[in-house]
Symmetry: D2
Subunit: 388 residues, 4 copies
């Protein structure tokens, strides 16, 4: 008998089914898998999402993952999955360097594609992917999940409705500390070959997407500095492996229209575990959000009575807040993985309604353009224009 | 086809199955249902938990709930469920005034029972339930879920290992604000008949259980004050309904051994949404936890270097923290409902190992004794001894 | 040459002079002395305050204090000071058990009196003092300085103008930790003879005054619990001294009109250094203030836009806030001792204008009535009415 | 009669006197004046500091300032003051563009000089001043007061004793919001002629000095971006004045030895009043300080027990903390102006002991070099080396 299953059969038949094939099943696979299992239980959707098949490289491990994550089955045969007309969505949850190949194959097979970030390793790849998605007339999404916390969604709404006036400044940091210790071994995350960059591609990617999602600003040019504090790490076999990606990467940004911003991604900030924090200053007010307290949004407004002004902490778990009423009564927190559920929910609804879904692959191109420009800027020691 | 289902069939067979019947399917049912669906996906358990059947009063609504919550089927026939040998656990998730009757029936049927708090309406009922559970040699649990956040579990461990020394003082508040507005209608929560009390039974119950779980202290005597600020509320039919339970209820406590504490439950504290906050002062240090930031634990220790002492904020989502490594990598928050998953996980493991599980019905008796003593104290205007 | 002196002579002559005699010169004397030196430098006052003479028990120590605190001279002859028509204000800054005698003598001499809290050791004494002050038609003030932080004054204004609606609940704690350690020696602060009580008289006195100042509520009845965790302490001579005052003292309060409150004073809460914190819940909003962040006021209002509600942190150092513009530009913090300066400033202005000044000795009576009622309540184990 | 004066005469004679002439008497003059009045009252110093004379441009205003600030007299004749052998210290508290001229004159007259920041308008001027100070063998200090909060001093000590290990990253922001509103008039602070730059020279100067003081790091190169969001402001006469300085200025820094940093100064961050905040990440731990909570220091250490790690908030008002025991008992906050008192105290002690005092004019040169390099970087759009 499967996890969380047995009958219900007659009733689910009321909804058209969306079968998902997920390629990859590590950390991100767990988060996506949870979304597939949970979405229909908390949201009324136009489809019944079905986690149908996991595609892995090793059958036994894929089987185990399918079982653990609630997928119906597992396979190592991606081609067969892509050829299966029952599969409607392909989720690319593999390491970064295979996103391009798998997503392109899925697009060619006319599947809707949900791709883990980063979209690909280069701007060129990203553009190809975006172009093919457009040509194939399928729907695509990029898993920048942090756009879809209740607090960040509320922030986007507040900016959009003018609560802050024109946006002038962004200060964004994504601070972690797991590489502070030089004895932490090298891994795919510390190798340029598999990642392209270190903290930059991993963490600044989120900050860039969040900036665009919350403010609508577009990056114009950047200058940057990066540093690798630990140049060699244990390779796990008693030897040493060279670290050829950044531990920390900071950049300055000029936006179209005159706004400016500061960005920092690091894995060497002791005490900061997952400190993805963005502060936005507008003409009339400010907002601040921090993933380590993801249900809270800080807001300051000059519109408040003069002697009562101050940053307020909005606990974004009220029935008037985005997504919140689908979970628990007012004041009950949600966690990290819920952002993936919201991402899926919105994607599924967009599939049905035909309305736009963001971030799509064009957004992935935009993020990658900033990331690459910043890498060049760090290398050259100059400001670099972000291509369109 | 069911939610999150299809095959997996062969594999789940590896684990013995635990079939759960859940009586009731409102707010608490949603939280319990989620636990049944999620536990095996994130934890390696000795059983496969199967949300088998929902028991409701209305077949159509129960059917809908079963579908939404991932149960295999629904029924209105509790007796049949209790007679079904396949059902091993009965979960009592109904309104407070029916806990006693349903749980007693389940115990008579030799089912393991998980009961929503409060255990029952009176100490006498609670004692009967605890006695019958003991006599039937079944396992029972009370859903005081807040014991099982990573942060509260860590707190209990820290107290137990002596990080605070002898405990001297507890200050505990559970503050909400949803009854601040006099136009909020009356409901079962504002009626003594269905609830016994207002904020007191609902919220102080959590504080009493948390105190016992975190410190091991036993209440000796209490004195109390209560107030109902809004004596009548709209009855939903254009009339008024009398409110005969407290909006706010505060009490002082003396513990066995000399410690003392202050307690407050209220639904009229504007801005406090779910402010379940306990601070524990010991000889050597202090701890503070707040449900509104449930992943954090504040800790002060005199053992730190003198010039570097201060309350530290422990983000309890590290692989060394209780429950945390089963969810996400370090630094990724979990939410409210995860505490129910942990509760279930520990109960299932205790079922298998035969080790004790707390809180059980004896703990429910202890909580109810304090609640009742406090109600009497408020009524009489004196200190009241808490019976054993 | 004196501290901060030399000429200026001609100019100061423009203002009438207020000569102050301060009796006592320990901790509180330092804080008062600072106020006398600083007030005219930052505020435009109708008088030039002159710290004229310190009265001590030991001439050498009094001389040193006069020098250090900026007083013109020192003496041990209180009678002569009281007989000196040049002295207009007598400040009683001695240990608690001498307040009554000294203040009464000063009142008999028709001096204005500023008395350190507590006003006296018993309600009876306080009433005598208040009566004599009234009869002599002099002005009196009680140094409950915490009323006069910009943040607490703003809080009082906000309550008075209705930002919170009717006040329903108060939760107030004054937590310290310096007696957590059992090896801290006994002192006048741990002896009933010199203090009357321990944390209660010292710290709850502040909470009671703050409650009255911020909310206007009057205490009706109280019940209480106290505890002494360390019954004996080193006496400083190799022996042990019995501790006959409370380490911690908690009480519940009913106010006239139906509001309720919780109070706690303790010296055994590790990590809480000077945590004088009051939270006020009204119909429409809440306020919270904490001495450890004395420039901040937290405010929640249901009047804010529904999706943007949250506690806001008002940094009360803006030119629109009470007292603030006299110090530094917006955003620059002030400290503990500034509250004494404000107290003096308001007292001096009230002397000139003839308008009321609070807290006066009648307020001192009110505070003492609550303190005493709470002591009786703790002793008797019942609710005790607060006398008028 | 003067403020805070009268006799004491015989006793003060015990200490040698340090007579101070202060040039200028606006905002900074008030802060310095307070330091001169207060230092001896709270600290045991080897000299009696005497605020002797204020030098202004207008006799009446200078007289009023002398009276208000506690100086013995006022004059408009700087030359006469410099020729007066009784004057030992000249304090330059005038607008930025006159620092150079006045300080140079004072140095030529062999006075000790305390200069408000910035030291001068150009690196060249700063170097001349430092050279002359050295040549004249007088002592000089630069009023970078934020080095001398108890918390920042503690931070410097913690870094120096190795609590953080090697420093890797600095993130520093100084955020204000008073120019957010376009209707705020132009002033000397918005004009390049009087200030050199806007937020940059005013606020980044503090961050640069703090970085050096707390970490010992030296800046190697910088790249920068600046923006003026409001290009014209009311000129106070019904017209418009062009704003030719930055509202916001951000820069990246590389330090000698490989550390990196981000810096931002702005006057257009709504809600940030005086948010001078620096976070330092080392190998073993982190520190964070924020002027808006100036008595607190946040500290994270990997040396804490693994499951109890977290940022702790050290309330730096304990008797073991720098400067703190001279003020009030443990747990009592100090304010903004106290940092100036500490600066003076340390300067006076250094005068006596002959030990070094920092920041001196060489430090002023270093700060100015970074500021200028950053201005060039912003202009040229490249990284610019910081000259030695």
């Amino acid at each position: 008998m499967s996890l969380s299953s047995q009958s219900n059969a007659g009733r689910a038949g009321d909804l058209p089914v969306l079968q998902v094939a997920m390629v990859g099943h590590a950390f991100m696979g767990r988060a996506h898998g949870n979304a597939y299992r949970q979405a229909n239980h908390f949201f009324d959707l136009p489809f019944q999402v079905v986690p149908a098949v996991i595609v892995g490289r090793d059958q036994a491990r894929a089987d185990a993952a399918a079982h653990k994550l609630g997928f119906a089955r597992a396979t190592t045969d991606l081609a067969a999955v892509l050829a299966d007309p029952a599969i409607q969505i392909v989720d690319v949850a593999t390491p970064n360097d295979s996103h391009y190949e798998i997503a392109m194959a899925a697009l060619r097979a006319k599947k809707h594609v949900l791709c883990e970030k980063p979209l690909a390793m280069t701007v060129a790849q990203c553009k190809e992917m975006a172009a093919l998605a457009k040509k194939q007339k399928v729907r695509v999404g990029l898993w920048h999940n942090y756009r879809r916390a209740p607090a960040t969604r509320l922030a986007a709404q507040m900016v959009a409705r003018g609560d802050l006036g024109a946006i002038r400044q962004v200060r964004a940091v994504y601070l972690q500390d797991w590489l502070s210790d030089g004895s932490v071994p090298a891994s795919w995350r510390t190798s340029k070959k598999t990642c392209g960059s270190g903290a930059h591609g991993d963490l600044n990617a989120h900050l860039i997407d969040l900036t665009r999602a919350l403010t609508g600003l577009e990056f114009e040019s950047v200058c940057a500095v990066q540093q690798t504090f630990t140049k060699e790490r244990p390779d796990g076999n008693g030897g040493k492996a060279k670290v050829d990606v950044d531990d920390a990467f900071c950049f300055l940004a000029k936006f179209k229209g005159g706004a400016i911003g500061t960005y920092e991604a690091t894995r060497t900030a002791p005490g900061r575990k997952n400190h993805n924090c963005i502060e936005i200053s507008g003409e009339k007010g400010s907002l601040r959000w921090n993933l380590e307290r993801l249900n809270e949004l800080e807001f300051f407004s000059f519109a408040d009575a003069r002697d009562g002004q101050g940053f307020r902490t909005i606990l974004c778990m009220d029935s008037v807040h985005p997504y919140a009423p689908n979970w628990w009564p007012d004041g009950h927190m949600i966690g990290y993985e819920h952002t993936f559920v919201h991402h899926l929910v919105d994607f599924v609804r967009a599939l049905h309604s035909g309305e736009p879904f963001a971030p799509d692959f064009a957004d992935g191109v935009a993020v990658q353009c900033v990331l690459e420009a910043a890498l060049q800027a760090a290398k050259k020691g100059t400001w670099v224009k972000v291509p369109k």
